[in-house]
Symmetry: C2
């Protein structure tokens, strides 16, 4: 079905790129490129190219299209669903060398970047100039190309929305190798079907993002966090819809449990400000006047105390901020380090069902005698639930994992939730997407893939295939 790459293909690609040393052949390719952060699925590309320009990508893809060679784009490889694993070998395009910030446009409040710029670099660059790129996924070493490809969400989605809300324009290499522009440096757009919004979240299956123009905001002048301990997870989570109803919109509402905090303390070798309670909400408030921020957090602190919170710690010094948020940022790695293997469920449910869903994961934990720590974005209904292998033999692990996943995704569906809030479908969650969506929906997605990519060369076997 796909042509396997030959020495001739390698020679051709070396002849068209600016720097032939950026092209790697089979055994020269590092193991890293055979997988992302998802365990259990890996495969090597035949050829790896560390691409440096849009034109290079365009020429390589055109060649691959003519010869029916599979092509997969890869950023930092921090994905959690196997989206960048080259299932059909072929050519992998590593975009991390395309890491230039092209333009900050202060009159239009936009930032134009190459796809390989890391999220942490964007944050640093714009905040030094008092601008703000609101999307805030936990993995700061992810590339912006990867973030756009999964429509990454992150912690500030409660107030500011997700990556989709901050992409004004994309330059994309289509599967036939042509370069297309979708969207523009404009605030409004009603000019035909929104192809830009199709590319966002399409996990590299419809085109390769080679440039992105992002919407910025002015940096809010004040930001304060609140850490609120509760007696148990139910109390913490059940406070969330009440906070939303209070008409105050925090920037972030994260929930965390003691066991995850302890893992993180151990992993980082740092102490969390408080770990004596069973469950916590961590909230942030931002704004342009201190009065407004103080007003907002006071309302929420009082409300939480009324609802049974044990206290409300203000996190306003740089030291405390660092201690709390670095712990929050390390949760995934800490859980990862606490077990031999894990898999993750990234469902999103309507906010008022989060408590029920977490309770259900606790029931499954008991039923299957398996550790299921979780944390996540309580304010936007997006949960990160980890099933930990903890030394189980392969057969038991596979069986338990499948049964637990089946039950969780079924329950999320019953609650009006979706399969993925922000990590995408990739390879690992396709089955659950197929289970959830009706045939029309899946067939339209397959049809769209066919329209963009009639020879199915771009990241085949992912999302809806």
């Amino acid at each position: 079905m796909y042509k396997a790459c030959t020495q001739g293909d390698l020679d051709y690609i070396k002849s068209i790129v600016a720097e032939p040393l950026n092209v790697y052949w089979k055994e020269e390719i590092s193991e890293d490129y055979s997988h992302d952060e998802l365990g259990g699925i890996s495969n090597y590309p035949d050829i790896l190219v560390k691409v440096t320009t849009t034109e290079e990508i365009s020429q390589i893809v055109k060649y691959a299209y003519e010869h029916t060679i599979a092509v997969v784009a890869r950023g930092s490889g921090t994905g959690l669903v196997g989206a960048s694993v080259p299932l059909h070998n072929g050519i992998m395009l590593d975009t991390t060398s395309m890491n230039k910030i092209i333009e900050l446009d202060e009159e239009n409040l936009t930032l134009t970047v190459e796809p390989g710029v890391m999220l942490m670099e964007i944050g640093k660059y714009v905040e030094e100039k008092n601008f703000f790129y609101p999307p805030d996924p936990g993995e700061k070493s992810a590339t912006i190309g990867g973030n756009i490809s999964t429509n990454a969400g992150g912690m500030r989605a409660v107030k500011y929305g997700v990556t989709r809300d901050y992409v004004r324009a994309l330059e994309v290499v289509l599967p036939n190798g042509d370069i297309a522009e979708f969207g523009g440096k404009v605030v409004k757009n009603s000019s035909g079907y929104s192809l830009k919004d199709l590319i966002i979240g399409s996990e590299g299956t419809l085109g390769i993002i080679t440039k992105a123009t992002l919407k910025l905001l002015p940096l809010p002048k004040f930001s304060i966090s609140l850490l609120i301990p509760f007696e148990d997870i139910d109390g913490a989570i059940e406070a969330v819809p009440q906070i939303i109803k209070s008409r105050v919109i925090p920037t972030a509402i994260e929930f965390m449990q003691r066991e995850v905090i302890l893992s993180s303390e151990e992993f980082l070798g740092k102490t969390f400000p408080d770990s004596s309670s069973e469950a916590y909400l961590l909230l942030t408030f931002d704004g342009n006047t201190r009065e407004q921020v103080e007003h907002d957090y006071a309302i929420v602190a009082d409300l939480c105390i009324d609802l049974g919170a044990l206290d409300a710690y203000i996190v306003d010094t740089e030291e405390r901020m660092e201690s709390v948020w670095s712990a929050r940022g390390a949760f995934l790695e800490a859980i990862h380090a606490s077990t031999d293997e894990m898999d993750e469920c990234d469902v999103v449910v309507p906010r008022h069902r989060i408590a029920d869903f977490i309770k259900y994961t606790k029931e499954l934990q008991e039923e299957y005698s398996i550790r299921i720590p979780s944390f996540g974005h309580a304010g936007d209904g997006n949960l990160h639930i980890y099933i930990c292998r903890d030394g189980l033999d392969q057969e038991t692990w596979d069986k338990k994992l499948k049964e637990i996943f089946d039950k969780m995704y079924k329950r999320a569906d019953e609650y009006g939730g979706m399969v993925s809030g922000e990590h995408g479908i990739g390879y690992a969650k396709k089955e659950y997407l197929f289970d959830q969506l009706c045939d029309n929906n899946i067939n339209i997605m397959k049809g769209i893939k066919q329209v963009f990519d009639p020879k199915n060369i771009l990241n085949p076997g992912k999302v809806c295939q």
Copy 2:
């Protein structure tokens, strides 16, 4: 190509709807249904159905699909690009009777509505309960179904974005008559291609919206407007990118010229607070504390004075608010009433090119000796430019209009703008969309239309066809 409707089709449709009196046949159909607010293009449907339920729509569309009858959905008919004109006769579905507000969900901050609810009803309903639906298109009698179909923008886009940003989920009848759900009552979603975002702005060509779940915000507690007179339009418009650079984000930044204000005063028989200057910016600021709102408008007022503004009037009484914003709301109708025929250009350009674009329309006004009043959303680069016929004979009018449009859209393209900011493409602007977009882009749109609607029965001849 399409089957003309027969008595048999009429009888069948009458037999499946709840109320046969809601079905109209040819000569019984009011002239209103043959056009929208765009002049120069009209055609009648064979059958008009005032639909009342999703199931009714589903059954009618299924029948039309089987028999290859064209189907067009219509809301209030306030469109400006002929999108709801039934070019191929067939069946028209009037959704204005599906006007129920289904659910306000305070825990998830969502409002679920039928497609025929008018924008003014949504505003009234949610604001009474201290919630806020930010999109604010000028035409308040438009239906939400129409707003979603054109991705309507409106005045508050500077701060709050456009309709797309406030649609969480859609129920849609597909061209085969099946009912599908896109999106969900969730804040984040990375579960396959965003079909919801394809439907938004697709002007009734991919599916018929039968239910929408909208995102709400808490209603800001304070809102104040500023009316800022300038000596000329250049001074007014050139202040806009400077305002944006000041790191204050007004809710709205509208520009208006004396001639349009005078038309509006005459049309409404009401006096505008000031009409002695050539050009004005009208700004709104909102927030949850008076201090913040006052802080913001003071910065902008001072900045504008520094940039040469003649004054800065605070519009904070209910009376003044009403006088200013009712005038602003009447601009389109006032220009409409001032001439025998007009056509409109709804381009959007990057904010820093608005001044240049307005200057260019003034040049065209001179060059073609034709009146070209304009007003619009200076803060988001979306201009509404009206070419007024003022009694020209048909041939001269057609010629001048075409030449002026050709030049304007070409210039907008050179400035990195798009054909439509918020009114859509419909029938009238297709040529300019084709001119602007590359072949790949247009072919993908055509392909997507084919995937959704292989028999091309839904609103044929629009957007990309």
